[in-house]
Symmetry: C2
Subunit: 455 residues, 2 copies
Amino acid sequence: MDDLIERLRAGLPAEALITDPDVTVSYGRDMAGFCAAGTPAVVVLPRTVEQVRHVMRTATALRVPVVPQGARTGLSGAANASDGCIVLSLLRMDRILEISPVDRIAVVEPGVVNADLSRAVGELGLAYPPDPSSWESCTIGGNIGTASGGLCCVKYGVTAEYVLGLEVVLADGRLLNTGRRTAKGVAGYDLTRLFVGSEGSLGIVVKAVLALRPKPPAQLVLGAEFPSAAAACAAICAVMERGHTPSLLELMDRTTVRAVNATTGMGLPETTEALLLCAFDTPDPAADLAAVGELCRAAGATEVVPADTPAESELLLQARRSALPALESLSTATMIDDVCVPRSRLGEMIEGTARIAEKYGLTIGVCAHAGDGNTHPVVCFDQHDPEESRRARESFDAIMALGLELGGTITGEHGVGVLKKEWLARELGPVGLEMQRGIKAAFDPLNILNPGKLF
Amino acid sequence: MDDLIERLRAGLPAEALITDPDVTVSYGRDMAGFCAAGTPAVVVLPRTVEQVRHVMRTATALRVPVVPQGARTGLSGAANASDGCIVLSLLRMDRILEISPVDRIAVVEPGVVNADLSRAVGELGLAYPPDPSSWESCTIGGNIGTASGGLCCVKYGVTAEYVLGLEVVLADGRLLNTGRRTAKGVAGYDLTRLFVGSEGSLGIVVKAVLALRPKPPAQLVLGAEFPSAAAACAAICAVMERGHTPSLLELMDRTTVRAVNATTGMGLPETTEALLLCAFDTPDPAADLAAVGELCRAAGATEVVPADTPAESELLLQARRSALPALESLSTATMIDDVCVPRSRLGEMIEGTARIAEKYGLTIGVCAHAGDGNTHPVVCFDQHDPEESRRARESFDAIMALGLELGGTITGEHGVGVLKKEWLARELGPVGLEMQRGIKAAFDPLNILNPGKLF
């Protein structure tokens, strides 16, 4: 270990190296529960590509595992340290290198905070759509590593669709350029997409070319209250089947609505079994909301409230934004699941989750990126009660099993990390897993890049 | 070889096996010029996944190369046979298995013709946007193999963005499922995207889950004539910089305009140095066209003609559609290049191509998916003149060199095949190439899947 520190020091400024265990311990984990985390040997915070290359060359020479980290807002333990590892934090590589309105691209370092980029391109009339809930603190590098989603995905898609090209430091310190700066390109296998969502297991992203869009008009939001989750899901299916393209289509179940009421005093009726939020950023959002309002009423909505102004819309969105904190206030701990099903199966997913909550005797609130069929069941439990904690973990697993049964995936946007490793194997099957491992071996033959994550 | 045929016959119906050399020779090549093609040992036309698996198991057992084929409309020789290979034609696996308007997906076999799918989903109010020029004959499997583009890409993106999941027969006959039926999903490395554009070198796609969109309104087209290509490119940059989202933005240079005039009697003024076509499928396309018309005039357009009706629009699009046949009529042979540059460099690309035409003493017409920066310089030459043919090949290469110099890629949508193998190595560099080869080896360790293509 002394050798490791000495070697690292040879290519890094003193301030880029943290060895004090009282400090390094704070880099131990991301925001996921139920995930093992080890103690890093050292934390490095490089500012340049050359410094990252030095770190990786050192790691390869000494066979030391490297765990790349952004803002550690992840929810699957993918950024958790392993014992004796080098934590490679990209937070100080935080420059926006270029924004081109004509080419509609931005070139950034991995430590740029999502919201900082959004604001910078916004000033030029552009948008970088991916908007995970943690957008005020999460980094673009982390977004790329975990292939993050967000509220906008139903219209604008996920991070993967906005990454055009990458500069990557490989396990042995060599530099790889993937992709392009152009709108299109098909030269060879799409390595760029391979890195998106690879959770730091294939290489260290040190630069990214991102696609931008013209900034859309402000969105207008509608809230609709339903007497059952099934009715709300029928409305969602009708909206999508009729060819609407909402910029947001979110669902909160009864448990979530009540928790939000309790913590914010929002005064939603206690009879509400499901609250649907739908938004449009089209040229005539009021007309689109009127059409959706009709579909909601036809599906049985008891109340349909379209906002007239962006300010009223903002109030409605507050309810959605306060959902997670509200559910977290119900117990000493929560686990947030991330099952995505075909949207035609959303109703079954939500009803099935309610049955799972009953079976395990737990409170499970569901909020969902409903337009995408991406549910976030939040399992509330007392972490100081081992038996209840066990039931929480079992219900968490039962939710994933249900998702797979309905033709879905165990993770719509949070990733696998260490939390869902066993479930990834179940979703992919042995052939799929073998192919994934083959790719890992091609990029990281010594298995030093975030080992023990994914599979 | 007798052994090969016997073994194949054991798992295929008689009508799925062609051994007559007079017939197999017609499966020798796609539509690319300047590309070597060998003589297949046998052509197989399976109808089921199980039959494809039998073919691949046989190929693996006997170490016989397999060249997968769709409609052979490709332009890079990726579907060209190699000597003694099995040509695996997927044309008879042509069923549309499912269309779901709620989930906005279609599930198809690889031999489905692009236009057939478009029409089938169109009847349900949906669209499958990717629209390569060959859409009336090319197959979805071929589109996936080559990651095809088309006219719509500037707004709707390329094939890659519409492939959600795949069923693939691996080199050894095992079955691999990738991706999902859901709108989102991040379970493991994105193998789906890896297969898109892999030119049949990683596995045989036997089923695809495709994303659909609501059918957009009919588009309205504007034509604008410019006194120089530079002025037209300035207009294109202005359109994109101002945040417009055209559904089509195409450019034809002087050579192309004159060729179209000559073959169609379209009567465009001979003074036109560049013709720009721009379309919108927005709720108010006339207003969008008016705004673009202003930008064209400000950039120096001598004539701006917005269509008032879809029928008039169709007439304007005829000019674009007749561009390639018109250029082909100028000589005994043509080579179509496919260089994509950042759209801010499009003017330099077109001017540079004109200089290359002059230097090599050849006619080179350029039509371009201008909104994407994707140019198709068409080199016209006499194939019976060896010296002119040599100059044609050299100018073709010079165009790619220029594209790379301008920060572009050697192929925006046609792929690498055998035509651009050397250039792929140049674009990717040694590290990139090594990583690509590592992936190939992980999927196809015996190198029997379309060997000799890509790299």
